[in-house]
């Protein structure tokens, strides 16, 4: 039996959805290699999470320690390193999240294990593993191989695997924490929620999203005019917030808001995974972009390949005309 570890990700009293995606990924791998799937649950007062995990794995491994209350990459690394040493799992899956990205690389170095980050698919081919991941802003997919090792570490991109509910009955194993003392060199202070702005983009039916292609802050008026014509609100991808042209509460994506509008019009947005993941559930997606290879066209229902500064004013004018009829 090959052991497969999945690290349970939880924050502020809730298991994060990505955990179940990882468990679904782990179950697929387990079925390909006679694996034994273990959900690793670390934290303080996390027994309440055991029940929801039970049907998703063969085993739930629990370590409770007040020193694991809030995510701390160093504390988690110490505990996981000791678990990996003890149980020698063949595969360990961690989320490619703010949590996993802080943890996995240093854990891989400590345990001297191959690490492939941000995988959207992991295959078993003739007994060896092949990880698939994106490079170059999503324009290239790579097949990544690993050298032979006793164990492998992967971080998995959120939303790559559907959570497929399973009917397993996990055995629950509670272990003592290997942490002897608080991690003094890295201490948690607080979580800070994003500021709430005047417009709640998550409540709008029609959202106009602007990206890097808008080029200048002054050009936002082009998008604002379209928003006005359509009765929608303005949102954006990350580069627009980074440039200070719109505030953080307007950002759609994994580090911003998740929206489900009836219509989303993406203007000059390439369609990076981080942005698109905030758009799942959009009913009609329209993309206007000058790059015919932009990944956004793979997500959109309708597309116009062209200069947004020509297309969008024409579109606003046409819509105004139609409304006047």
């Amino acid at each position: 039996m090959k052991e497969i570890f999945v690290l349970t990700e939880h924050r502020q009293g809730e298991i994060r959805d990505v955990t179940f995606e990882l468990l679904s990924c782990g179950a697929k791998l387990a079925s390909r290699m006679e694996g034994h799937l273990t959900a690793v649950l670390l934290g303080s007062e996390v027994k309440k999470f055991v029940d929801p995990l039970k049907s998703w794995a063969d085993q739930v491994l629990v370590i409770e320690d007040a020193k694991l209350k809030n995510f701390n990459a160093d504390a988690y690394q110490k505990v996981l390193a000791s678990l990996l040493q003890k149980f020698m799992p063949f595969i360990t899956l961690i989320s490619q999240s703010g949590f996993g990205m802080d943890l996995a690389p240093s854990l891989a170095v400590e345990r001297n294990l191959p690490l492939v980050t941000d995988c959207y698919q992991i295959e078993v081919e003739n007994g060896s593993l092949v990880a698939n991941r994106q490079m170059y802003n999503g324009k290239i997919n790579a097949r990544v191989r690993t050298t032979d090792a006793d164990g492998y570490l992967f971080t998995v991109r959120p939303a790559s695997f559907a959570s497929e509910k399973m009917e397993m009955r996990a055995e629950v194993v509670v272990l003592d924490s290997p942490l002897k003392e608080e991690i003094a060199y890295r201490t948690f202070v607080d979580y800070v929620e994003a500021a709430v702005g005047a417009v709640d983009i998550t409540q709008a039916d029609i959202v106009i999203g602007v990206g890097r292609g808008i080029k200048e802050k002054e050009n936002l008026s082009v998008a604002e005019d379209l928003a006005k014509s359509l009765g929608g609100v303005l949102a954006c991808s990350r580069p627009v917030v980074d440039a200070g042209w719109l505030t953080k509460d307007r950002q759609v994506g994994s580090s911003g808001k998740t929206i489900k509008p009836k219509l989303y019009v993406a203007l000059g947005i390439s369609g990076a995974f981080q942005h698109v993941s905030g758009l799942k559930g959009t009913e009609t997606l329209v993309a206007i972009n000058k790059d015919p290879n932009a990944p956004i066209f793979g997500e959109a229902d309708y597309g116009i390949v062209g200069d947004l500064f020509k297309v969008v004013p024409a579109l606003s004018a046409k819509i105004n005309e139609l409304k006047a009829v």
Partner: protein
């Protein structure tokens, strides 16, 4: 405050047509514009801001070919004090962790209070070098950093989590902070700065200058390697509306109207 900034020269691919070369394992570099990796540029700016406030030095470190000297010079032009480039034929195909091992071997012989780098390179997207470097150096790290406030012997940093949530933590120095975009507004180099930087020396180091063996670096020193790359097959493709901008806009407006969206 002596700061080391690890940077990387990468092709700008967000809006470019990316082609695969004959090996099937790399992209065609010809025709692409190369520049400092975006998050590294923010890391560099953060280092310069700290230096301006607290004094000290900013040292640049990169691993890469001769062309990376341009990236280092741009950093020097903005206000960095020194630059080191590590390069060796044996470094080719180093994965994220092997790259961190090489950088760590250089940093070990330097004195520093803080190491800054970008949280992810836009070419490979590994996001490994910062935290792996910290582990090799046995110092703390934080990734996805969007705010740094220096205190006495430690830094209070904000990390970006999902959904706009920030994690605030205190981290003892020296530490590696892997910086996320948006933490500051990166400056442009001045003409004067560029002129000065063109005369500065870039220190070059190869394998023989580092406490490493050939087996520690490159493909041999890496546990992961790229077997093949390909263009993603779009499972779904938008219906592309043809015509001039005016024609396409007219078609789209009617389409939206029909669906009750306009």
């Amino acid at each position: 405050m002596d700061i080391i900034v690890c940077i990387k020269r990468v092709p700008e691919t967000a809006e470019a047509d990316v082609k695969i070369d004959a090996s099937g394992r790399n992209i065609v570099q010809e025709g692409l514009v190369f520049n400092i990796n975006e998050t590294d540029n923010y890391a560099l700016e953060e280092a310069l801001l700290i230096k301006e406030k607290a004094g000290g030095t900013v040292s640049l470190l990169t691993m890469g070919s001769k062309e990376s000297d341009d990236t280092l010079r741009m950093g020097l032009a903005k206000g960095a004090d020194t630059a080191i480039r590590v390069s060796d034929p044996t470094f080719i195909e180093s994965d994220g962790i092997a790259t961190a091992r090489i950088l760590a071997s250089v940093v070990q012989s330097m004195s520093y209070d803080l190491i800054l780098t970008g949280c992810m390179a836009s070419d490979d997207g590994y996001g490994q070098v910062g935290p792996a470097l910290a582990e090799f150096l046995q110092i703390p790290h934080a990734t996805m950093v969007t705010k740094v406030e220096l205190r006495d012997g430690f830094a209070q940093v904000s990390r970006e989590l999902e959904g706009g949530l920030l994690e605030v933590l205190n981290i003892r120095l020296p530490a590696v902070l892997a910086v996320q975009t948006g933490i500051n507004e990166p400056r442009y180099a001045s003409i004067m700065g560029i002129a000065k930087a063109s005369k500065k020396e870039i220190l070059l180091k190869g394998l023989q200058d580092l406490p490493l063996q050939a087996d520690d670096v490159g493909r041999k020193g890496s546990k992961t390697w790229i077997e093949a790359i390909r263009k993603p097959v779009q499972e779904k493709m938008a219906e592309i509306i043809p015509g001039t901008p005016e024609e396409a806009a007219a078609t789209l407006s009617v389409l939206l109207k029909e669906r009750g969206l306009a």
